[in-house]
């Protein structure tokens, strides 16, 4: 099994491969990046928050232990203005829906682990998500595929 990437490695690779995302905070177990992603023509400001599994004394740090991507600007359109459908492929935040986390990969399919570099996976996946989101807003159709909770994972479905 590949070793877990350190936060320093994540930060260094991000600075190299995605310099447009600015590191806004980091400590031993957390890093936050913020900046523009522009998959097509429009620019979107996102934040990527990564909390690594770690301990402060005997207290475990709380967090998702995976990179969390949120759309900051423009505000996430939770409901399609024409069809009334809810935006697909987000982990819904029921209190602040527009802060819902983007679902970029299938957790069951082991598409991401802490051995992967965020800059080489999460960042292009967020761009893919935003491109599909633009297409969904324009046409009402999410064409980028994906799995909904309750559906069989791709390998099992095949």
């Amino acid at each position: 099994m590949t070793r877990r990437r350190s936060l320093a490695e994540q930060i260094a690779r991000m600075a190299e491969a995605a310099p447009y995302l600015r590191e806004t905070a980091h400590c031993d177990w957390l890093a936050i990046w913020r900046g523009p992603l522009r998959p097509l023509q429009r620019s979107y400001t996102v934040t990527i928050t990564y909390v690594m599994r770690s301990w402060i004394g005997d207290l475990q740090v709380m967090g998702a232990f995976k990179p969390v991507v949120r759309l900051i600007e423009p505000t996430l359109q939770v409901v399609h203005p024409d069809t009334g459908d809810r935006v697909p492929h987000v982990y819904r935040d029921w209190v602040f829906p527009e802060r819902s986390e983007l679902c970029l990969y299938d957790p069951v399919a082991d598409e991401w682990s802490s051995s992967a570099l965020i800059a080489d996976t999460i960042v292009p996946w967020a761009c893919d998500w935003l491109a599909c989101y633009e297409g969904w807003l324009a046409t009402g159709e999410w064409t980028g595929g994906g799995r909904h909770p309750g559906d069989a994972p791709a390998a099992q479905a095949a």
Binding site: Y105, E111, A131, C132, E134, A138, G144
Partner: protein, 426 residues
């Protein structure tokens, strides 16, 4: 085509706005299949005019395409249907002394033939031409012409004007040289690196459309047939935008296509990308007409190959008509500026393009673009430009490159992934 041209060819259709504008043009233009059909049809009419007993037997010198058909800029004549008007010159060798009415009637009766013959119920007489209307929506407008003094530029002709509904008003003859204009236009708008990239996209789109329509495919059109310069595409888009605006202005004559073609050829291909060319051309046409308007006169444009051939003899009739189109052009310029600004997403771009080019082509173009985009992402083929978050549409396969793509070793395809979460759709 040299190395630099091939290199540029891979970049001219780079941004989504350029691809979407090209796709709109592809959706409204005459397909290569329909182009071949039109050519076959006017060749058949030529044979029909030469039949035994035809009033024009032995009198037809030549049939050739004129207008938009001759310069490759034909677009659908209607907004919601694929109906095309194809302009043809019928060059005749007639006895001297015939008036305009007689010549137009002669061509009308020669094509129409006797009751029961193939064109009888399809033929109608217009002011300057005879129209043959086909069931699939294609119209061939056949303009009778006679060559004039040979000292003038090649194929300078006399055409006819006579209103059939007012037979008591005598008709008249006009000097025209559509052949010379088409030749001049092609010289002014040479095929450049853009043409190859556009041809590949148009060819692929036509193949898809043929499959959608489940048409019998007689001979698959070749990519060659789709090669056009940026200026021609800009002309097609400006004509489409004009048609959209004038569709709701009943009984208002439109700014003539041939005037737009002349103005666009004057400043053709001075840009890099399609959206830049469209913007440049719209500004230039606006400025030329506005200059006349500021002087208090009506725009007057002549055929560069025939100084007696006035392209603006029927429009604008008044300064108010001129001002109306100037307003349209200013609006067009502003909206294309916005499309290019990088400030709008696909939804906003779609809304702007629906306004400019109509619902019919725009909806289909965005649906197709979104399907192609999603397909590449779903199958793990999205590629980003190194050091940016910008999707490389060529390397991602949304666009067939004009030249083979050399993928730098440093370029990494996005690892395959599956979006998750959200509400299940029933």
């Amino acid at each position: 085509m040299g190395f630099m041209d091939r290199l540029r060819g891979s970049t001219v259709l780079r941004e989504p706005v350029d691809i979407l504008l090209a796709d709109i043009a592809i959706r409204v233009q005459l397909t290569a299949t329909d182009h071949n059909k039109a050519v076959a049809r006017y060749q058949t009419i030529n044979e029909w005019l030469e039949r035994d007993g035809s009033p024009l037997q032995g009198r037809v010198q030549l049939l050739y395409a004129q207008g938009s058909m001759a310069i490759g800029a034909t677009i659908a004549a209607r907004l919601r249907t694929d109906e095309y008007d194809i302009d043809i010159i019928v060059e005749l060798d007639l006895p001297s002394g015939l008036d305009a009415e007689t010549i137009l009637d002669l061509l009308f009766h020669s094509i129409r033939g006797k009751p029961g013959s193939r064109y009888y119920s399809m033929t109608s007489r217009r002011n300057r031409c005879v129209t043959v209307s086909y069931a699939d929506g294609m119209h061939l407008d056949l303009t009778p012409a006679e060559l004039v003094v040979p000292q003038l530029a090649p194929r300078t002709s006399l055409i006819c004007h006579h209103k059939p509904e007012t037979p008591e008003v005598p008709g008249f003859r006009l000097v025209a040289n559509p052949f010379g204009f088409a030749d001049w236009f092609k010289q002014m708008t040479p095929l450049d690196h853009f043409a190859e990239a556009f041809a590949k996209r148009a060819f692929d789109a036509e193949q898809r459309m043929l499959v959608e329509k489940a048409d019998a495919v007689p001979v698959p059109p070749q990519e060659e047939a789709h090669r056009k310069s940026k200026a021609v595409i800009a002309l097609q888009l400006l004509k489409r935008a004009r048609n959209v605006r004038y569709d709701s202005r009943h009984n208002r004559r439109r700014p003539p296509s041939v005037m737009l073609a002349k103005l666009i050829a004057d400043g053709a291909n001075m840009t890099t990308t399609l959206s830049e060319e469209v913007l440049h051309q719209a500004r230039q046409v606006h400025e030329t007409i506005a200059a006349a308007h500021r002087q208090g006169v009506l725009i007057s444009i002549f055929n560069p190959r025939c100084d007696r051939d006035c392209f603006t003899d029927r429009w604008p009739g008044t300064r108010a008509e001129q001002a109306t189109y100037l307003g349209d052009l200013a609006d067009f310029v502003g909206k294309v500026e916005y499309l290019r600004s990088g400030e709008c997403d696909l939804r906003e771009m779609q809304a702007v393009m629906v306004d400019l080019f109509g619902e019919n082509p725009t909806g289909a173009v965005f649906k197709s673009f979104n399907e192609q985009l999603g397909d590449r992402i779903r199958t793990g083929q999205s590629v980003y430009r190194p050091g940016t978050s910008n999707l490389d549409l060529t390397k991602s396969g949304l666009l067939r490159p004009a030249a083979p793509v050399i993928v730098p070793a440093a370029t990494v395809t996005t690892p395959r992934h599956t979006f998750f979460g959200g509400d299940r759709r029933e």
